[in-house]
């Protein structure tokens, strides 16, 4: 789906909701998609207030008010041990994190 073909419109229809959900790895059923579509359209419509503001020559804000690039020396420090790391891992074999198949071998 190419959003850029649309007008600057507030309408986010059910197909668009499904498309976005897939991009962000969520699964939405049609009933949920209908609710989200209505809510998204309402929210985005309210946010169109911004279009009334002239931002012709205005630069986008820097994310940090006080500084730009922040550098530090690259210092080697001890990192978390494998055992400690795996304490929070849902599926592992004591050595590696286990996940389902990533590559299709067909």
């Amino acid at each position: 789906m190419d959003f850029s073909n649309k007008e600057f419109s507030s309408l986010i229809d059910i197909n668009a909701v499904h498309y976005i959900a897939n991009l962000i790895r969520l699964k939405i059923d049609d009933k949920e998609a209908r609710v989200f579509s209505h809510q998204f359209s309402q929210i985005i419509e309210y946010f169109q207030k911004l279009t009334e503001i002239d931002t012709g020559d205005i630069q986008p804000a820097n994310e940090n008010w006080a500084m730009n690039n922040i550098f530090r020396d690259d210092v080697v420090k001890p990192s978390m041990s494998r055992e400690e790391f795996l304490n929070n891992t849902p599926h592992h074999d004591g050595y590696f994190v286990r996940v389902p198949r990533i590559f299709d071998d067909r």
């Binding site: 809510q39 309402q42 946010f47 994310e63 008010w65 304490n87 929070n88 891992t89 849902p90």
Partner: protein, 487 residues
Amino acid sequence: MELSNLSVRKAHEMLVNKQISSVELTSAVLENIRRLDPKIKAYLTVTETHALEQALKADIRLNAKENITPLTGIPYALKDCLSTRGIRTTCGSKILDGYVPQFNATVVEELDKSGAVLLGKNNMDEFGMGSSCENSAFFNTHNPWKLDRVPGGSSGGSAASVASGLSLFALGEDTGGSIRMPAGFCNIVGLKPTYGRVSRYGHIGLVSSFDCIGPLTQDVYDCALVLQTIAGKDSMDGTSLPASVPAYTSSLGKSIKGLRLGIPEEYFQAGMDEGVEITIQEAIRVYEKLGMQICEVSLPHTQAALPVYYLILFAEASANLARFDGTRFGYSSNHNFENVVDLLIQSRQEGFGEEVKRRIMLGTYVLSSGYYDAYYLKAQKVRTLIIEDFKSAFEICDVILAPTCPTTAFKIGEKKQDPLTMYLSDIYVVATNPAGVPALSLPCGFSEGLPVGMQLIGNHLSEELLFQIGYAYQAETEWHKIHPPII
């Protein structure tokens, strides 16, 4: 004397004078939690054993008169978005249920070093996304002033715990009012510091360019004490500020005569409850009486702040929450999956609540090709204008006074089904975060039995001034000394 209602300052005096021990104080607060928290539900996790161990260690320090800080032996609570080594940290989300961090947030390290005693982790809206604590994946927190009301959000559990004597202070996190709004709804003090004043390391990020960790306390003095302990440069957070940390309590009690109090006209236009407005006007008169010069200021882009705030929030949150994939940590769906993408989808589907899904989907939408310029880039440009608004205002005044919320605490369930109406309750608190400026919310009266909060907004790194002006108000009024009837 009810031990759990003590201010940090008073408790410290009593600890140092050996009128109580930290174990006694901590036990009294734990007893209060057992008695009241089933009604208020401020805590997701109570760490009783850990707390008593820390209290015992604090007593050893106090007895030896060695290395005593103003927080040594003082029991406190943490919003559950702050990482605690060995203690479950959920961020109010099912996707982190069972997650036990291997490290402490820097603020937790600092409080540990000071000898403060951790009581447990507070309930919150999932990932900080909410204004009422109703978006917690676990349960609702109730406002101690009226149990059918929300405590505000997202640091609702932390505010409710301080207001009802279930902790002497708490740390919350403010992305767009999440400390100030619940502080206002619960009649306590809450500070959103300058962006970068407090290290964010170990905070589970929502909007990395807005997020600020800060104190929730019974009064301004305590707030200054706590900020003193947690502020400063941290090598683990590149965005933390190198500016030296002043002795925040030393400005307290100084005259505020002649200082200029700015009243932003845009905040006093339609939309505020009458009871809130009357209360705020009365607070302005108190400052007039204290010799402040009252002046009108304008923040022309106030109405735009809400869309700017939410658009940037949606965008940054969708990126921040991409890390939850059901493989490395946190919740993982238990089905047998053919491939990793199915595991990812199912784990996120089951782990995230509705508001989180709503916001990360909107974030993905506003960042998508064709809409990036119209929404995200536009919002970052208007953000520049909001920053300019504050800059111009602070040429005319020293601090700005505004209501914290347009209403008092609303009923549980009242706005849950209507996200846009819920977002609008943040109207007065959101502008400060895109601008990075600090704001202090403090109690200023009641409307129909419910607390009203006001906020003092200052220029970057003006926390000392905010404390001075807030303290002067509290020396003149008694609102902050009124506790909810439930305790």
